[in-house]
């Protein structure tokens, strides 16, 4: 275990969040079992009060997931000195088998909590708790995921020993290495670029269509997820190269550094925000005809779609700007 303050902060934070989510999940199950809106019984009234606590806990959990996603990458970056061969966060994450899965877990939990809060927001607008079952069913899988995240975090940091020789990001994200990271890099640039602009274009078009007509939210939310994934792959595969202006530096973390004008923040913020808002529309779609939500959901969906397309468009502008104005050219 490395006693870095960042490690301690992450572990404490993750422990607290997991405890919060476990608590929320426990009462979520009780709500699922005992909920009866027509009853004015004391149990029902107590459960209704609990819903306030649960949504507060979940918003804190979401906040922590977001902050800790960046804090994690940064701590990993700070720790790279301890590992010979590691030159930035990418190398530290690779120091044992838990690093990258942990990053993915964090991402998944962030999306999960975000979608839950979107559904919760819609539910709060209805006068008969229309989504209560769906909402708490959605909460149930979040519990094991967040516990898993905590155990991975713990396993990762306790498995870090300062002398493990790791590959630096230069070799991790380079062509020779097998594994996901290597696969992402070796994706052929031309089709990748096509896929990138293709999904982004399709998502924007479908989002605009949905925003104007109030229809087609399922394809839009699936496309949003696709855009999120394809864009993350594209960042590693070719987008970063333009930012670093180096033909072999594929690391998706260094763009968060000052040397690259903190470009990573707007990139990840627009991508994650857009993906979340876009996916949210799909999760709301099955309930658009529920009596008390008839007016609420379509409005909310259009607002989310609006947010998603603006964020994706902003991301596209940033990415395109880098590709057009970077002096660096990819050899075809």
């Amino acid at each position: 275990m490395i006693m870095h303050p960042g490690v301690l902060a992450l572990i404490t934070g993750s422990l607290l969040t997991s405890a919060m989510i476990l608590y929320a999940g426990w009462y979520g199950v009780r709500i699922l079992r005992n909920w009866d809106l027509s009853s004015g019984s004391e149990l029902q009234l107590a459960l209704e009060k609990r819903t306030y606590l649960i949504s507060t806990l979940l918003s804190y959990a979401l906040g922590f997931e977001l902050v800790s996603l960046f804090l994690f990458v940064f701590t990993a970056d700070r720790l790279h000195l301890l590992f010979s061969g590691a030159m930035c966060a990418a190398g530290t994450l690779n120091a044992n088998g838990f690093g990258y899965p942990l990053l993915i877990l964090k991402l998944v939990n962030f999306l999960f909590a975000g979608i839950w809060l979107i559904v919760n927001h819609a539910d709060n607008q209805g006068y008969d708790y229309p989504l209560i079952r769906f909402k708490y069913l959605l909460l149930v899988p979040l519990v094991p995921w967040s516990l898993l995240e905590f155990s991975y975090l713990f396993a990762y940091f306790s498995g870090l020993h300062a002398d493990v020789i790791t590959s630096c990001c230069g070799s991790l994200f380079s062509l020779e290495r097998p594994g996901i990271a290597g696969d992402l890099v070796s994706l052929p640039v031309k089709p990748m670029r096509l896929a990138f602009f293709g999904t982004l274009g399709a998502t924007l078009a479908s989002g605009l269509f949905s925003w104007r007509s109030g229809k087609g939210f399922y394809p839009f939310s699936i496309l949003s997820l696709a855009t999120l994934l394809v864009s993350l792959a594209s960042l590693v595969s070719f987008l970063c190269l333009y930012i670093y202006q180096l033909p072999s530096h594929h690391c998706p973390f260094c763009i968060l550094q000052g040397e690259y004008h903190y470009l990573g923040y707007p990139i990840y913020a627009t991508l994650l925000g857009g993906g979340l808002a876009g996916m949210g529309t799909g999760f709301l779609h099955p309930w658009r005809r529920r009596g008390s939500l008839q007016l609420v959901i379509p409005k909310l969906q259009r607002r989310l779609a609006g947010v998603a397309i603006s964020l994706f468009a902003l991301f596209l502008v940033i990415a395109a700007y880098q590709m057009v104005f970077s002096p660096f050219r990819l050899g075809e």
């Binding site: 490395i2 303050p5 301690l8 902060a9 404490t12 934070g13 607290l16 306030y52 000195l81 590992f83």
Partner: protein, 378 residues
Amino acid sequence: MTPSLQRHLNILDFALSSLWRRKGKNLSLLAVYTLIIFIIASIVFFTQALKREAGLVLQDAPDLVVQRMVAGRHDPIPVSYATAIAAIRGVSEVTPRYWGYYYDPVTGANFTLVAADDPQLKPEAIAIGSGVARTSRISIGDFLPLKDLKGSPVLFSVQKIFPSASELVAADLIQLRQEDFLRLFDFPSGRATDLAVSAGNPAELETIAAKIVHDFPDTRPILKSEMLRTYDSVFDWRSGLVLVVLAVAVLSFIIFAWDKATGLSAEEKKEIGILKSIGWETTDVLLLKSFEGIVISLSAFLAGVSLGYLHVFFFSVSLFEHALKGWSVLYPEFKLTPVIDPYLICLLFLLSVGPYIAATVVPSWLAATVDPDAAMRS
């Protein structure tokens, strides 16, 4: 302004006035909270600054040092090894280094003696760090007696005192000529303390180190990067340990905050009851409570971090220097270079505000879900 924003402003306004109405309680909470953040911030800033200083020290250190090991202990290395090592491919230069420690019974301090190749240094003259000057109460032109191996004192005249900017590094340093060094310690001839090796291409250092071990099994090559890593982890480890100890303090603070939050005074409870009865909703009261929490934790955070910053960079960690440094008698009087690191600020924020939020979320919820009709029954 949208109603939603105005609602937040209205409630924030009321939160501020409620906090102010209960000054006594809130200020005591704020004071304890600030103190804890101050201590944590001091530790984190100080470790960071020490790491930086250590990095600066090592900046001038050779890329690779070769020591000789005898029975697992460090032993003077034959200078003849230098020629053989210089012949290894990629090695650009090998320099024997002469240095050691000297215990001064008068002041009870340990000096670091280094043989310098500074041609300006006269025979039987020394250049000293300001720490040495301070503890021995000498200045330029004075003499410093050092005992040789047989116990007879040798007088050295002080020719130069190192500027205090480099204090942390050079406080206990005494530089003297190589022949003086060898004579003083009666150093075995043909031996040096260690060898400094530099390579044309730093990327080849590891290969060179491996080759040296292969050719001279009795040596131990130490890479600069390894030293950096060791320093880094030692500092982290130390501050981490202190933080773990501090966790106990944080924990008691959490209990304290919890107690403050749950042990709402009868008056406060009544007030929330009134708010609920006149049309405030649970969400509104939760918002009120979280605004109160935000105001308290943000002020404590800002105050604690600024005080910690001043403490470390302008008052030289006067409150707990010994705990953290464990230095010798020659404790350097130094000013660390002030740096603001956004990462650390962010980290401190999480370490200090996170536990507070966690401690207050359930109590605030309990307070906020008072039945609105309770006020009618009092």
